[in-house]
């Protein structure tokens, strides 16, 4: 491991992304967010992820956490990134429509993503296109619905057994 380099501020990261990807870097959520989130267009998630990982000033080599969120009017996938080399952290968020939410996978950028993408697929029904293995992970394969969605109704029966 090389010596820790220089941490980069969230605002600068957003400006770098804005310069590189234009409108695909949508917004910066800073006030009340720790760490701050750069909001990106879902279609560009993979390119931006790869850039964040490979750019030497940023080098976000570690995906700490990948979570789905249901904001009622839309879904989001939140990525928490950390750089072991530069010792800084950033959030990346992509908002998805409620109807058929899907976005490209990042499991070839950070292999750590696979299980957490499967979890978001399982509990939110968010599809990660191009994933090497996208199956339910925590719930049984024949479970109906996605429990962490806000409108989820608890089933009365499972295989004829009252729950």
């Amino acid at each position: 491991m090389k010596e820790p380099g220089n941490p980069v501020e969230a605002q600068s990261i957003f400006e770098i992304l804005k310069g590189k990807f234009g409108d695909a870097a949508v917004d910066l959520q800073a006030e009340g967010f720790s760490p701050a989130f750069v909001v990106v267009a879902p279609a560009s998630v993979k390119e931006i992820a790869r850039f964040l990982r490979d750019d030497p000033a940023l080098s976000f080599d570690s995906l700490m956490c990948l979570s789905g969120v249901d904001y009622k009017d839309r879904f989001a996938v939140a990525y928490h990134l950390y750089s072991m080399a530069n010792r800084h952290a950033i959030g990346m968020k992509a908002f998805l429509p409620r109807e058929a939410p899907s976005l490209p996978t990042v499991d070839d950028v950070w292999p750590a993503a696979n299980f957490q993408e499967r979890e978001a697929f399982d509990l939110f029904g968010i599809v990660f296109e191009g994933s090497k293995d996208l199956r339910r992970i925590l719930l049984p394969e024949d479970w109906e619905g996605h429990p962490l969605r806000k409108e989820y109704k608890y089933p009365e029966f499972y295989h004829g057994i009252k729950v």
Binding site: M1, S34, P35, M84, P111, A112, Q116, L123, L138
Partner: protein, 376 residues
């Protein structure tokens, strides 16, 4: 009679290991495809212990979620308790009294010792040496006694509170903890003499399931598993929280002392050495703990500000990260718990390719996974 090899067709066999299997540390199911004794593919199947903790979290108040964190990793409940408290305090910017922070560090490190003891004991039992397990349980009982004295419980403590801890240390607790440390520290040498450098034990672990430093980072390994690959990264030092910056300790890393850097033996040895560091932290904390209140003033109906935080704590099984979304009401809006064991399982299929079936047991033990943390 001669047998022509081509007349004896062979085929791969699929074997089901678990979910009820003594060496899977809970209800882990692994679907093994084997070619003779060699595993060509090991696919983990998790979720048998899914209790929907994240969904429950959206239905209960911030304070009510505390006992559920006990069940997150029941071998390190104190650490999970405190991780939840620190997350909410980060969100609501609550100032915690210093004595409470010291008490938290004391219980976290005591729990780290007892958790590593189980990791050590069950691992050696998996490897065929049953005696060390009994030694580990013997010492762990003493930690449980201390916790019982402190909060009345021996497994699920529910000790931390948002803004502090539920009760101050009873008279004699700190002295008893010091006595325990004096008793426990020489035991680590005893473990090393008993089993760590035993030839059979070393041969079972050295050069098995090597994880390179680059792979460990890319796959998101954390805690002792990451440090076993030689990466000196510890949240208590690198993203310090609580009073850890005031305490002096060393980050233990794997050195490849008996085989290749990042093998099962390195991960095992990191845990043994970390117990020594925990003792060191505890001694300093016992020395410096100030007098004062142990609970900050937090409103009975607690409504944190709107916002989103991610907090991560260095728990015995790696980073426990909590992503908390608040909409300003009494319940968390969304709460995601990222646990060390869950992310580690992602690497399982890659790292077990080409190993023997008996080595699978060594890999599970060396990663020190625990199922309630995976399935949540």
């Amino acid at each position: 009679m001669t047998i022509r090899p081509e007349a004896l067709p062979t085929q791969e066999m699929t074997i089901n290991m678990g979910p009820q299997h003594p060496s899977t540390h809970g209800v882990l199911r692994v679907i093994l495809t084997t070619d003779g004794e060699v595993v060509t593919r090991a696919v983990p199947d998790v979720g048998y212990l899914h209790r929907a903790l994240e969904k429950i979290g959206e239905r209960v108040s911030y304070a009510q979620f505390m006992p559920f964190t006990d069940r997150l990793d029941y071998l390190a409940s104190m650490n999970c308790n405190c991780a939840w408290a620190w997350t909410v305090e980060k969100l609501a910017k609550i100032e915690v009294p210093e004595r409470a922070e010291y008490l938290r560090v004391i219980v976290c490190e005591l729990n780290r010792i007892s958790s590593h003891l189980i990791a050590f004991g069950s691992f050696t039992a998996d490897m065929g040496a049953f005696t060390p397990f009994l030694y580990a349980i013997r010492e762990r009982e003493k930690v449980n006694d201390l916790f019982e004295m402190l909060c009345g419980n021996r497994l699920t403590y529910n000790y931390a509170r948002i803004g502090g801890v539920s009760a101050d240390a009873p008279p004699g607790f700190l002295e008893k903890t010091r006595e325990f440390l004096d008793y426990f520290e020489p035991k680590i040498d005893e473990y090393n003499e008993l089993i760590s450098y035993n030839k059979i034990f070393v041969n079972r672990l050295a050069n098995v399931a090597v994880v390179s430093a680059a792979d460990a980072v890319a796959y998101g390994l954390t805690g002792p598993n990451l440090r076993g690959s030689g990466v000196a990264f510890d949240l208590r030092k690198d993203e310090p929280y609580s009073v850890y910056p005031k305490l002096d300790f060393k980050v233990c890393v794997g050195t490849g002392e008996r085989g290749t850097l990042g093998d099962c033996f390195d991960r095992y040895m990191v845990r043994i050495n970390e117990m020594r560091e925990s003792v060191k932290i505890l001694r300093q904390a016992l020395e410096r703990i100030p007098d004062g209140p142990v609970l900050a003033k937090v409103p009975r109906v607690f409504k944190p500000p709107v916002g989103e935080v991610y907090f991560r704590a260095e728990n015995p099984r790696g980073e426990t990260g909590i992503y908390l979304v608040s909409d300003g009401t009494v319940n968390p809006y969304r709460l995601k718990i990222r646990t060390g064991s869950f992310v580690t399982m992602n690497l399982f299929e890659t790292v077990t390719k080409g190993l023997m079936i008996a080595d699978i047991v060594a890999v599970i033990g060396s990663f020190d996974i625990i199922l309630p943390e995976i399935d949540r």
